[in-house]
Symmetry: none
Subunit: 247 residues, 2 copies
C-alpha cells in the first residue's frame, strides 16, 4: 500500500510547513510537494517545528502548478471545508483514503491557509475529502488537517481487515470491473483539455458553458477508471474529429 | 453521546494549549481541564493559536492533580506513546473511544510534551490509548495527538457503528458512485450505434474494424453506469460532430 503524496498549495506559514513535515513523519509518510509556496520551507521556523522531520522539508518538491504536482498520480483527492462542491463526489477520510489506497500512486491536496483550494484546483482531483467538523468552527489548522489524513492513512495501513473488507460482494464486483492499470492523471487531464477544445470547435459548448459541461464528462470518465490504452484511444478519436472538421 | 473531557497534565507550551483549544472546538469538544499547567493559558501565544476558540481556554478548569481532574468521570483513558504499559489494556483510538462513548462522563488524558504521563498517572486511568505511529519518529506534537483523538471522536459521533460498518460503508459508497438512475439499455445501445456511425464517417474505424473497436467503448461506458441525462448528452455531442463534419 504505497503512501500518497501530500501536496500543499500556496502555503503561507513556515511554522505550518514544519508541523506538516513532523506529522507526516510521525505517521510514516514522506513525499511532500509544495505548489508555489509563499514561505521558505527551510526557514528557522519551519525547521524548528519539523523537529526530527527536517529531511522531509529538504526533500520537498517545489513546483509552479497543481497539475505539475499531480504528474504520475493515478488518483487525487482534494481536501475542502466548504459544502459547495458542485458535482464533485464528497467523501470522508476513511472512505476517501480507502479509495486512494487502491492504486499505486496517489495524492492528497491541501489548499492555502486562508482560502483553501479554488474550484479550478479542485477540478484537477477526482474526489473531495471533507473532514467532519463542528459547523460552528470548521476551520482546521493546516497541519491538523494533514495530521488527520495521515493518521487515517496509518489506521488503514495497520488494519488489513478494513482493506480486505473491500472485497466483499458487490464492492468486489465493482472493483473487478476497474482496470488495475489506471492511466496517470496528467494524461486524463490532457484528454479533457483536448475534448474541451473539440467541443468548442464544433460549437457544442461555448467558452462560458464549457467548464460546467466538461464537469459532466469528467464525472463519466472518472467513474470509468480509464486505462492508459483507453485514454490513448479517446485522444485518437478526438484528433480524428478535429481532423474531420477541418476537411 | 456526551463528549469526554480533555485533560492535559503539566503542559509547558502556551502555543500548544492554544492549538489544543482550537482543534477541540473544530471537532465539537469544549471541556478542557489543565492539571498543574506550566504555562499561562491566557498568554498572547495561547490566545493567538486558539483563534476562535478562546472561550475554551477561558473556561478551562485548573487543578493540582490528575485525580481532581478525573472527579466524576466514569471512564478515563490515558494516551501514551511508549510500549511499556505493564498490565494495562492498550487500545487504538477507534476502540478506545468506542469504549469511552458507552458512558456519560469520560476523559482522555494527555501528558506533558517532554515526558508524557508517568506510570503513576497512567494508573489513574483504566486503559491506555496508543495512536498508531511510525516507530522511527513516534513523538507526536501534543496538539496533534489531541487533534487525532478529537477527530476520531467526531467520526464515532457521526456514525456510532462506523467501525463495524466500514465494510458495508465502502460497498455502499462504491455503489453510490454510480448514479442510481441508470439509463435503459436500449438508449445506451442506440448511443453505441450512433457512435459507430460517426466513427465510420470520420474515418476513425473501417467497417471490418468497427465491432472490435466499439467493444472498447462499450467497456468504458458500461463501467461508468451512465444515467439517462448522460446518455442524452453523449448523443447530443455525436449529433453535433456529425453536423460539424457535414459543413
Amino acid at each position: 500500500m504505497p503512501n500518497p503524496r501530500i501536496i500543499l498549495v500556496e502555503t503561507a506559514g513556515a511554522r505550518n510547513l514544519g508541523s506538516v513535515a513532523r506529522v507526516m513523519k510521525n505517521f510514516g509518510l514522506s513525499e511532500l510537494w509544495l505548489v508555489n509556496p509563499q514561505c521558505d520551507r527551510l526557514s528557522d521556523e519551519a525547521i524548528h517545528m519539523a523537529v526530527h522531520a527536517r529531511e522531509i522539508l529538504e526533500n520537498a518538491k517545489i513546483v509552479e502548478s497543481l497539475p505539475e504536482a499531480l504528474m504520475g498520480c493515478q488518483r487525487a483527492i482534494a481536501t475542502a471545508g466548504r459544502i459547495d462542491k458542485g458535482d464533485m463526489k464528497v467523501t470522508n477520510p476513511p472512505q476517501g483514503l480507502s479509495w486512494l489506497s487502491q492504486v499505486a500512486t496517489s495524492a492528497i491536496v491541501f489548499g492555502a491557509e486562508d482560502r483553501g483550494l479554488s474550484n479550478a484546483e479542485i477540478q484537477h482531483c477526482q474526489q473531495v475529502l471533507q473532514i467532519p467538523v463542528n459547523p460552528d468552527y470548521p476551520s482546521l489548522n493546516l497541519a491538523q488537517a494533514v495530521g488527520v489524513c495521515c493518521y487515517q492513512w496509518q489506521l488503514l495501513r495497520d488494519d488489513p481487515k478494513s482493506h480486505e473488507n473491500l472485497t466483499s460482494q458487490i464492492a468486489q464486483d465493482l472493483l473487478k470491473s476497474a482496470p488495475i492499470d489506471l492511466a496517470p492523471r496528467e494524461d486524463i487531464e490532457a484528454c479533457y483539455q483536448q475534448l474541451e477544445a473539440v467541443l468548442l470547435k464544433i460549437g457544442y459548448v461555448y467558452p462560458h458553458t464549457a467548464a460546467h459541461r466538461l464537469r459532466k464528462f469528467r464525472n463519466i470518465f472518472d467513474r470509468a477508471n480509464l486505462s492508459p490504452s483507453e485514454v490513448a484511444m479517446l485522444r485518437g478519436i478526438l484528433r480524428q474529429v478535429n481532423w474531420a472538421t477541418d476537411q
